[in-house]
Amino acid sequence: MKILIVDDSSTMRRIIGNVVMQLGFSKSDFDEAEDGLKAWKLLSEGQYDLVLTDWNMPNMNGLELVQKIRAEGSHTKVPIIMITTEGGKAEVVTALKAGVNNYIVKPFSAEVLKEKLDGVMKK
């Protein structure tokens, strides 16, 4: 199983990666990208089973990335979890409409991420 973590903050990528490793994955099981453009490049080059993405990022933001993933390429059905500071109801609705499978507001606990990851992967 391959996971793609997309966040412009290196600290956040490491935090998420750390939680993912606690679930039993190794470092080789996930890749990191610092914005939507780099994530899209990785998605075009390889196959991923799960995408964890931030919203506010330079170059291409998370919402644009989700819309692009759902619209084109080989990952139109891949589970996507958005992990962001955007906690407004309107933003959550916008993200869900764009095609995210789950939504986590920062700051989050490892337990929450584990639950959401489990939920998405079971489906």
Binding site: D7, S10, T11, M12, I15, Q22, P107, S109
Partner: protein, 302 residues
Amino acid sequence: MSMSQEEIEALMNGIDLGGDDDTQESTPVVEEDSQGTLSADDIESLINQTKNEEVVEATNSNSEVSDDDIEAMLASIGGITDNTPPKVEEKPKAAESKPKKEIIVDNDEEIEKLASSWASKKVEEGIFPYPVTKDHKPINQLSEVANDSEEKASKIFDVLSFILDENNVIQQESKKIDEFLNKQIALMQALSAKFPNIGVFQANHQSAVALKDSIKVIKSKVDAENMQLFEAMELMQFHDINRQKIERVMAVIRKLSGYLNNLFEDDGSHKEVAVAKHIHGDANSDLVGGDDLEALIAEFNK
């Protein structure tokens, strides 16, 4: 009083009749004034000046500081007289202090230091704004803070990860010790059961059990430490949250800057206009009223 032609010529050529240096200094003034227009009375008065040092000094001061005349005139005009006496008193003080300053700041470094400290003082007093340098640009500073804290947060994360990795090693090694102790306990238990009279087996068995308890304590301590580390890692999310708050402030400043630029921008076709220094209504004691103005003009036109 009468003068011979020689004396007159000597005076006009700058020869010292009284043997005093001051007279030589005063002679050029005479030359300027006496270009073919000196009357006999003028010459007489000039000769008197050369004989009398005090008179010479007086003439010197007259010729050097013609501003004094203006000040004296201003002093005689009503309304301005109140301000002039302190000015006259201040002037010599300023004149005394000025040369001192000039002596102190005779090299570029000193001048720069003085200028710098003076400017800093003005900035502290709120008279001057902060200079437009990289260090004083808010967006630049905020950007530096965000980037630097990101870098430091990453380093903190490195430290936490290192401790976590080391704890994992401790746990793995503890497992090995635990496995060995389990075997040791079983062996000693069997030996002490078979040879109850040999106390060493019993003692070793008890020691192994005690060590196993110690290992349990170490394990639980490492687990607790790991929990704390995970909590610290979770808390580091606030770095990202705070960075985004800083970015929001930066965005507000950028918008505001753009707005102010739009508001105050000029098409650039206008030439720079000279600005008045003293305008009616200003809180300035140097302003001249209507009567003062007329008096000044009249005095100058005499």
